[in-house]
């Protein structure tokens, strides 16, 4: 990663935000408070019509609330001109968002062009961004969107959103139109980019697994309100309402195991067992459980080449119980 890629994220603050569409008899967003710390990846989760996408779009003023305040990096979004605001905030939507009459390079270059960068700076930035999203510039630069696969289009969409080094990235169901395998790899890419760039990301999805995979924090929404706001593990272990419990299928213990890692279970660890197969400390408990079901009595947890403990069924169950408390 080149050093100037790193543009630390900016915090977001939403206070009592309420939106009502004209002609509707109830609020699409009904007084929401939300704080997103700088550099966090927060996922808004809920079924369609719960207001998650509307809430996201208040941040770049595509939707204007009738009440409440929204701050990006401490500045009220109504204070600046909406076009200037939007050029500073990355925005990714489903694949339809790419302009079909423009090449990949032209699509990616839109915001730098709006910001009147020099042609040389734009050309260099386009190649840099295509590298960043792992599309070989020489091969992809002059292709049209229709010549790309769904996954490739979505990478271009992400590159376009990151073009002007925004400190906040809004992603609205970005991977809804691609198949499951591609979606998983795009999620990995999102996590990689998030770690590398430190951009604050607000991500909207109705896909529970996607939310659990990506989120530092999950905000579950229903009828324009926040139902629960917490870490994935917290929301799964202690669903605040039956709605959250049903939506996340929180009773599924295996689902929770995929959010815990071997290291988390070690506080209950027994002494190392001779001949136990090694697993890295960062491995999920779900994978550890799978190893145990394959026949091992215990696994040896390895960190930095050193065995730091062992795990068997008992420790895994204990870790789940501890997580519920």
């Amino acid at each position: 990663m080149k050093p100037h890629e790193t543009s630390a994220g900016a915090p977001l603050g939403l206070r009592d935000v309420a939106v009502r569409y004209s002609g509707a008899d109830r609020d699409a967003v009904a007084g929401v408070d939300l704080d997103v710390p700088a550099g966090a990846l927060v996922v808004l989760l809920g079924p369609s019509g719960c207001g998650k996408s509307t809430l996201l779009r208040t941040v770049n003023r595509l939707v204007v609330p009738y009440r409440g305040a929204i701050e990006v990096d401490g500045h009220d979004v109504t204070a600046s001109d909406p076009q200037t605001l939007r050029r500073g905030i990355g925005y990714v939507i489903q694949a339809v968002g790419l302009f079909p009459h423009l090449t990949v390079a032209q699509n990616v270059a839109i915001v730098p062009q709006l910001l009147s960068w020099t042609p040389e700076a734009i050309a260099a930035r386009v190649d840099e961004l295509l590298d960043l999203v792992r599309l070989e510039p020489a091969r992809y630069r002059s292709r049209l969107p229709r010549e790309l696969s769904g996954g490739e289009q979505q990478r271009v969409g992400v590159a376009r959103a990151l073009a002007a080094r925004p400190r906040v990235l809004l992603m609205d169901e970005p991977f809804g139109a691609v198949d499951a395998i591609v979606r998983t790899s795009l999620q990995d890419e999102t996590l990689r980019l998030h770690r590398a760039l430190g951009t604050t990301i607000l991500f909207v999805t109705h896909d529970v697994d996607e939310a659990l995979r990506l989120a530092d924090r999950i905000v579950v929404m229903k009828d324009g309100r926040i139902e629960q706001d917490g870490t994935p593990l917290h929301v799964l272990a202690k669903p605040a309402t039956t709605y959250v419990e049903t939506l996340l299928d929180a009773k599924d213990a295996v689902r929770r195991l995929s959010l815990l890692c071997a290291r988390d279970a070690l506080r209950n660890a027994s002494r190392p067992v001779d001949g136990a197969p090694p697993v890295p400390a960062s491995e999920t408990l779900r994978a550890v459980l799978s190893r145990l079901l394959e026949g091992a009595d215990a696994v040896a947890v390895v960190d930095d080449g050193r065995v730091i403990g062992s795990l068997s069924f008992a420790e895994i169950r204990a870790a789940l119980v501890a997580n519920e408390r």
Partner: protein, 205 residues
């Protein structure tokens, strides 16, 4: 040589009428696309106007403008306006709402969205209207001969009067060839237009 002069006059008349129609019809189409409720009323009015035969329009021009190039030019312009206006409306309204929303989200102004998204995406459809209008105008320009507008119509009428079958076929055949040629050339351009654009320097490989 006489035939070539008539072909030239024919094309001049058709070209002038098309240029004038383009200047009038594209703004009309753009206004229609934004018109909301009044739109369907206007579209049916345009549709009704199209039913009036070209020859009747030419005849109606006579008492108003007299004979010669001018009435033929006005009549052909009126003929070419509906297909271009309707396709402009169609093309602009065919731009997906999600595309405009994406453009807005990237920070484009309304003007930038119109110039960089709406018009380029509508262009192939608009151009298809121009192609239809061109073929209609080239064919109908033959009728200008009846009101002294010149062109291949005059050539054909002279042949009829002199009972010159060969000359008649030359003239009629020329009109057909011109119409087919225009359709083929404009059709080829139309296919190339679909979602391509001249590339600025930074986008070239």
């Amino acid at each position: 040589m006489d035939l070539l002069i008539h072909v030239r006059d024919h094309l001049l008349l058709a070209g002038a009428a098309l240029a004038a129609a383009l200047a009038v019809a594209v703004p009309i189409g753009a206004a229609l696309a934004r018109a909301g409720l009044a739109r369907s009323a206007w579209l049916s009015a345009i549709g009704t106007a199209r039913v009036i035969p070209s020859l009747a329009v030419l005849a109606l021009m006579l008492p108003l403008i007299g004979i010669g190039f001018a009435p033929a030019f006005v009549a052909l312009t009126l003929l070419a306006i509906p297909p271009i206006a309707i396709n402009t409306d169609l093309g602009l309204r065919g731009v997906p709402a999600a595309m405009r929303e994406a453009a807005r989200g990237l920070g484009m102004s309304e003007r930038q969205i119109r110039m960089r998204v709406d018009w380029p995406l509508a262009l192939p459809v608009v151009f298809s209207g121009v192609r239809i209008a061109t073929v209609e105008v080239i064919a109908s320009a033959s009728l200008a001969g009846f009101i002294g507008g010149g062109g291949l119509g005059e050539y054909i009428i002279n042949a009829l009067a002199a009972n010159q079958m060969g000359q008649l076929l030359e003239g009629a055949g020329s009109v057909a060839v011109l119409a087919l040629l225009a359709d083929a050339i404009l059709g080829a351009i139309e296919r190339r237009l679909a979602f391509t654009e001249t590339k600025p320097a930074w986008a070239r490989t």
